[in-house]
Symmetry: C2
Subunit: 453 residues, 2 copies
């Protein structure tokens, strides 16, 4: 493959089944608990917000779950995505390491998010849902769900974190172009929003608050369900298509990763690229390392606790056993808006707790440095979120330069930064800064959780 950069699968080789790591975990997952009773959640408790097929996937232990033909048909608009050998980055770093990236930025909304948005819109459609609500931070998820709902004739209502609503008008425009309706959160439309605004009329919002609003809207409106863009088991399942494709492509390249890297916000893109390879560690004794790269300003995996916590800020969702900074933790206004979440996927959390994966916290400035290096070598301008994965890959490649080892590094290029140029401008103008680990705030936010271990 000496001359080749992109390793391209045929459309016919798109995986036809999702991979569910719950079938292979040697450990047991602790069940979510009901926010009112604090007893294990019954599947039927989720009916108010999710359609039955999604609930089935949320709790399934089946190893393989068929991807419906209707979903595959739409995924084909941009899938299979390229696997790219980053030869120019390798050369620039003067590393003996081989660096590959899976380019999920080629979807129309620009990230991995539509992999699950299409599936969720489909299952809602066949279950009779007419309207879907969701939250969005940086806007990647909201635009992906608007894009997906359009294909199934479902109305899409998006609560967008206010600071992003104001700073990212382009993402707002994308959601409208695909037919979505966008509200700045906190809004006056929900009790949760009004409560936050009463306490702080200038609230800039957070992902946790927007989730509270979207869930409340779903449970109080007719024919409406809620859709979640990360964290949940079914989202992790849908994102497995990334790693499944990457495995086929690595085999085409005659290679296999020593290290797999993804940026980490809620966990779905990291799990998407990692879990199909982690399966080989568990079932075949492979020894690949998996590195979740998160921001130092919101260090859920590296500084959070493994506790039961709510998924949202107000406390409407079930409690999940996960790494958390506390649901009232308010992360600094870093530019990787998609990584500003207090919790983490229960599946990723369990894998970290059982040392099947690692985590690494990175500062904002070193990530933008990495992003610019990547843009000037591999051409693509990455999303600020994605820059964390790139920075972690560069750290691993630099280690190889020191040791002389020719390791194979694979990272997920989860999204492009075309609508994040505002953040790049801040970086170039010298107005961007790093944040210190918010230790005390984390302890305050974790204190008093109902089921703290």
């Amino acid at each position: 493959m000496e001359d080749t950069y992109k390793i391209i699968l045929d459309e016919k080789d798109i995986p036809k089944r999702w991979y569910n790591i719950q079938a292979d975990f040697p450990q047991e997952l602790e069940p979510p608990v009901h926010p009112a009773t604090l007893r294990p959640l019954e599947p039927s408790d989720m009916k108010a917000i999710f359609p039955d097929p999604i609930i089935e996937q949320e709790i399934s232990r089946e190893r393989w779950i068929d991807i419906p033909a209707e979903v595959l048909d739409i995924l084909k608009i941009w899938r299979p995505t390229p696997l790219v050998r980053a030869r120019r980055l390798e050369k620039f770093l003067d590393t003996p390491a081989k660096i590959y990236f899976k380019n999920e930025s080629v979807s129309p909304p620009g990230s991995h998010k539509p992999n699950t948005a299409i599936a969720q819109a489909y299952y809602n459609k066949i279950s009779g849902t007419g309207r879907l609500t969701t939250e969005t931070g940086a806007g990647q998820w909201g635009s992906s769900l608007a894009f997906a709902c359009g294909y199934f004739g479902i109305e899409c209502v998006i609560y967008m974190v206010k600071v992003s609503y104001e700073q990212k008008p382009y993402r707002r425009g994308m959601m409208k172009t695909w037919g979505g309706t966008v509200y700045a959160s906190p809004s006056e439309r929900t009790q949760a929003g009004r409560k936050i605004l009463a306490a702080d009329p200038n609230s800039q919002g957070s992902l946790g608050i927007a989730i509270s609003e979207a869930v409340e809207d779903a449970v109080t409106s007719t024919n409406t369900k809620y859709s979640l863009g990360s964290v949940a088991n079914h989202v992790v399942l849908h994102q497995s298509i990334i790693g499944l494709e990457a495995k086929k492509q690595m085999a085409m390249a005659g290679d296999y990763p020593d290290v797999v890297i993804g940026c980490h916000g809620g966990g779905s893109n990291f799990a998407g690229i990692s879990f199909p390879f982690l399966s080989d560690n568990i079932t075949e004794g492979k020894t690949t390392r998996f590195v979740a790269a998160e921001p130092s300003a919101c260090p859920t995996l590296t500084a959070g606790e493994f506790v039961y916590d709510f998924g949202d800020t107000v406390g409407m969702t079930p409690l999940y056993k996960m790494y958390s900074l506390g649901h009232s933790f308010m992360p600094s206004g870093i530019h990787a808006g998609g990584l500003r979440y207090h919790g983490a996927s229960p599946l990723v959390s369990s894998a970290l707790k059982h040392k099947q994966i690692e985590a690494m916290a990175l500062q904002q400035m070193e990530c933008f440095d990495a992003a610019v290096t990547f843009a000037r070598t591999e051409g693509i301008i990455p999303a600020p979120e994605t820059s964390h994965a790139i920075r972690a890959a560069i750290i691993e490649a630099n280690k190889c330069r020191e040791t002389g080892e020719s390791k194979t590094i694979l990272f997920n290029l989860s999204g492009h930064g075309h609508v994040d140029m505002f953040s790049y401008e801040k970086y170039f103008s010298g107005e961007m800064e790093d944040f210190q680990l918010p230790g005390e705030e984390i302890q305050k936010a974790l204190a008093g959780l109902p089921l703290r271990a």
Copy 2:
């Protein structure tokens, strides 16, 4: 191919030679003339702004010109680009027509422009150029040249039309990310800019003014050349890779176009998709139609005259025999900034004059309607410029619905609209309007041209 949407070439099947339609034109091209002497331009007259290999390509009559390996190697970052069968758009239009589009939006800068930017940066590099100047309107070209110069260690200086500089900060950010330096034009850096500002301190600029500034900077600075993003013969040559790839892909699909469509600003993307097919009309007696889709507010091909005119506003460039609205014509502030140019490629102009191609003028609103239809069917949000090609394709497809003919329509998806969401917002907010044909202004601008036929 029933199940397939994307028709993907292998990297090894990227064309290795560019196609030069000058070899096949039955008509003679009238030569450019010197702005001072009004005599035919000598190749040596171009040495102040172009390196020798570019001048050779500008005047070459060779049918095929080899693409250097160093250029191919960088084109592989995003090439070959997909050819897509737009089955969802066909279904939405309920047309018996088959619609294909060539997706040039997948390049890192988001358009077809880097096809020539990479080639021009390469030829300048091997000719010893250390610094390249250029102009940009919407920013697609400037970001492409910044992207290209980075790979060859050439300093890139971009004069960006002031109205776009202010309205499109994201494009500015992209140019910086790839290492370019951007100035709002008219600027105080050049005599041309100062002259315009003295007459109108609030001048919002135009492509013609920015060209004047970039050319002046090149001829008055050391080790500096100028680079042009459209219009010129060598640019049209480099863009032939679009049509050459599309021909291979149409053959893979077992199809051949009855109509080929591109939007038209300076002519390079239209020529890029069209000329390799037009070759078959000329040499093999095929009867494909070619439609250049331009904005009604800047109707160079449909309302301009075929005259000798300057390429820039101030009158520093040679005069070219081309369709022109007059070099002093100032187009309305339409949102397709890349189509606001008074002139047209001499090659495209000659083809139109000799009825080898057709042109069509379209209103802004109908093009945005088409863009939203396209985004909601095929997923991709197109650039406002590109929306003209989509609108023309829809017009052709609707004709097929009326006649029942199953024609094959191919258009060039020249760029995405990720950094044009400002314009989409205007469209959704109802603040956008159409413009009338600026007939009197055109007559005024054409009056008094030195060599008017």
